[in-house]
């Protein structure tokens, strides 16, 4: 059904856009809709999962689809049953997610809570982000992702706003036995043994923390810890790789940064334009200037993004395509 036909069947005062805000997506089949359930970070209690299953059997086709951004979607629900479905789900605190031009439910990996690679509490951050900003209107959809480490399983670099856990290893020379294990396993070949001690090449190091997790003597310890910030990524018809904006931003600055980025988008964006295209049009330096008072020392400069490490996280062509990062 196209949206015009749908509009005719709706109760007075309800537009397809309203429906979308409520996470109801018209199906191809007449009068059937998909109900998208909210699951920030893809995590959900067993009680809610049971309820979703129950509702799918009672009101839908008995099937649930997991959306590509981690939301369980109940299929083949009749539009007139929507109020009942909503009420049923609310009994266990299961809310409905969003679609359309607004802040979507954030995705997140397991992060440091249970994933051995995780460096930040991605699950906690996703929940809190959702509590603060879910459903806010924008010029276009606004997707956020939290990855626990630079392996970036949730694809922060393909999100409108993406965060990635990072840690800077620090050497406690007295504790080092010179075993060379860290240098052997560094996936970026960023550590070289010099006079029996590992020396880190900041041009190559991806701040992944593998070396400090492996060091048998705890001679490598966590120094500055935080997140890399990416803005303007998306997939879709015209994929757009995100701009790397900052690194090692302390966890406490994540929400101020998110708010500043969204405020900047409201001020500079145009209807129907994703934030990445706004940055292309207006210039990355305008956004960097707005972020400077918040996270000045963490902002990436031209010499950073020309480093091997930033080149290595994008394919060479994309790294070359970044505009010049000016003085801000």
């Amino acid at each position: 059904m196209d949206t015009d036909t749908l509009a005719e069947t709706l109760p007075a005062g309800l537009t397809p856009e309203d429906l979308k805000a409520g996470g109801i997506i018209p199906q191809r089949q007449n009068d059937k809709v998909v109900i998208r359930c909210m699951a920030p970070g893809g995590r959900i209690t067993a009680a809610r999962l049971h309820k979703i299953a129950e509702v799918a059997e009672k009101y839908g086709s008995g099937e649930v689809h997991l959306s590509v951004r981690m939301s369980p979607e109940i299929l083949y629900v009749s539009l007139q049953d929507y109020p009942l479905v909503k009420e049923e789900l609310a009994k266990v605190g299961q809310e409905i997610a969003s679609c359309g031009k607004r802040v979507r439910v954030p995705t997140a990996c397991g992060g440091c809570e249970y994933n051995p690679n995780g460096l930040v509490d991605t699950q906690g951050l996703a929940l809190e982000f959702n509590r603060r900003y879910f459903g806010q209107d924008h010029y276009h959809k606004f997707k956020t992702a939290f990855s626990g480490c630079p392996i970036d399983c949730t694809r922060a670099r393909e999100s409108d706003l993406g965060f990635q856990g990072q840690v800077e290893p620090e050497l406690v020379a007295e504790a080092c036995s010179g075993c060379e294990l860290c240098a052997e396993i560094c996936p970026e070949r960023a550590l070289t043994m010099v006079a029996g001690l590992p020396v880190r090449d900041v041009e190559r190091c991806l701040l992944c923390g593998d070396c400090l997790k492996i060091c048998p003597n705890d001679a490598l310890v966590a120094g500055r810890t935080g997140v890399a910030v990416y803005v303007g990524g998306k997939h879709g018809r015209h994929p757009h790789v995100a701009y790397p904006v900052a690194e090692l931003v302390p966890e406490g600055e994540i929400f101020p940064v998110a708010e500043a980025v969204m405020a900047w988008y409201r001020e500079n964006g145009r209807p129907g334009e994703r934030i990445g295209l706004t940055v292309d049009r207006v210039g990355i330096d305008r956004l960097r200037r707005v972020l400077k008072p918040l996270i000045g020392p963490h902002l990436l400069q031209q010499h950073h993004i020309r480093r091997q490490r930033w080149r290595s996280v994008f394919w060479a062509g994309a790294a070359d395509a970044f505009p010049h990062y000016g003085e801000v």
Binding site: C179, L181, E184, P216
Partner: protein, 83 residues
Amino acid sequence: MATGTIHEVLDIRQDTCPITFVKTKLKLEQMQAGEVLEVLLTGGEPLQNVPRSVKAEGHRIFKVENLGDNQYRLLIECGISRE
């Protein structure tokens, strides 16, 4: 503290993850605190994962030797005795 005596030897050079660190973990669980396990393994994934999980389990790696040809030798002091 390890005295130079090696109590057990484990060769996981033919194994792939996660068998590599499962075998290592099981072997260490059969040993007494303070005993030494020698592990022979290859570079790449086994070297990335085995020492890390050994450390997380509370044992102590006190020697890493690069044998060349992508082969390594670890000496591990068992940290936990299970009665």
